[in-house]
Symmetry: C2
Subunit: 197 residues, 2 copies
């Protein structure tokens, strides 16, 4: 990586927690300057706009989230166990994440009526996550590990909704309990209603 | 209501959709002036700060949400039917709501790492909603309508998390399906795992 690219990567890495915690509108240029130690010109030499930087910061934060949530999943052989591990990872693993909660949730809420570029990034992220879960469920259907009446896309949507909603409550109340409830509920659901007997 | 109070109420009513759609940081004074037809001085005669106006606008939007979600619930006699109706109301009723999605979800996400006054309002709103659902579940336990192994607070948390997460997905993807999935999932759960047989 050349020096220019190194600086660019550093700006993204240092601004990602700001955007994830404070939001796009809530992150001022002065915050970005403070976090990066650069002047305005030093930042905008690498990015056409705050929007472009925020989009790159989102991708950076999301990539970290996906890495953490998918940890060890490939090692599980059974489709239901894979889904259970993804649920557990979401609830239990924090190391390696960009601080501020789920980038998808944060950006979706801010951009659903707002910034089109960020909304598109959030949509793509949701689509990728949903596709991953759906794919696992389809494989499980095909292999007979998952009950025939399970609808893969719907199951993926339920898992994501339960986890993201629980994360909102947990963060607002500064309590891990709602996330634990979500994990127990989904685990029970996967065992009793999804796993083929 | 005196003229001053009327103007105050009008400012709250007209600014509530802005804050709910654009967020606190994303709503500029110029937006508020345009929506209310007032000058800066005309707005700040009634509110000490943008923060105070945003807090009042949140309460206004949240009161509307609670009214809609609780519609007809008192008429249901069975605790499980009450919970089912609250789920259905959340998913199906839009009329009477402040546009922009759930004020609790929007404010929780923006304020969880940010504005302390708004975070406190969101916390109180979540607490009230959770208490309402918990109370219904407790009554159902007492009357024998709900299974003895159900934990009221946990059930309330699961319902709220599922609905709020599904709303995030539905709004981001501009599809009603994830909300329908959540409704069907929760209805099935309430019938098969919560209702006493």
């Amino acid at each position: 990586m050349g020096k220019g690219n190194q600086t660019r990567a550093l700006i993204i890495e240092r601004s990602a927690p700001l955007f994830n915690k404070q939001g796009y509108a809530g992150t001022a240029l002065s915050d970005l300057m403070k976090a990066t130690g650069l002047e305005k010109g030093g930042i905008y030499r690498h990015f056409a706009s705050k929007e472009e930087l925020a989009a790159e910061a989102f991708d950076f934060a999301w990539a970290a989230a996906v890495r953490v949530r998918a940890r060890g999943v490939e090692d599980e052989e059974n489709a239901v166990d894979r889904l259970k591990l993804m649920v557990a990872n979401f609830v239990e693993l924090r190391a390696g994440l960009v601080p501020g909660g789920c980038p998808l949730l944060n950006t979706a809420i801010e951009a659903d009526d707002g910034n089109a570029v960020l909304r598109e990034r959030a949509r793509r992220a949701l689509h990728d996550w949903q596709s991953l879960l759906t794919r696992i469920a389809r494989q499980g259907l095909k292999s007979g590990e998952i009950r025939k009446d399970v609808k893969p896309e719907e199951l993926a949507g339920l898992i994501i909704a339960q986890l993201e909603g629980a994360l909102m409550i947990s963060r607002l109340n500064q309590s891990h309990l709602p996330l634990e409830w979500a994990k127990n509920h989904l685990t029970d659901y996967l065992e009793t209603r999804v796993r083929a007997s």
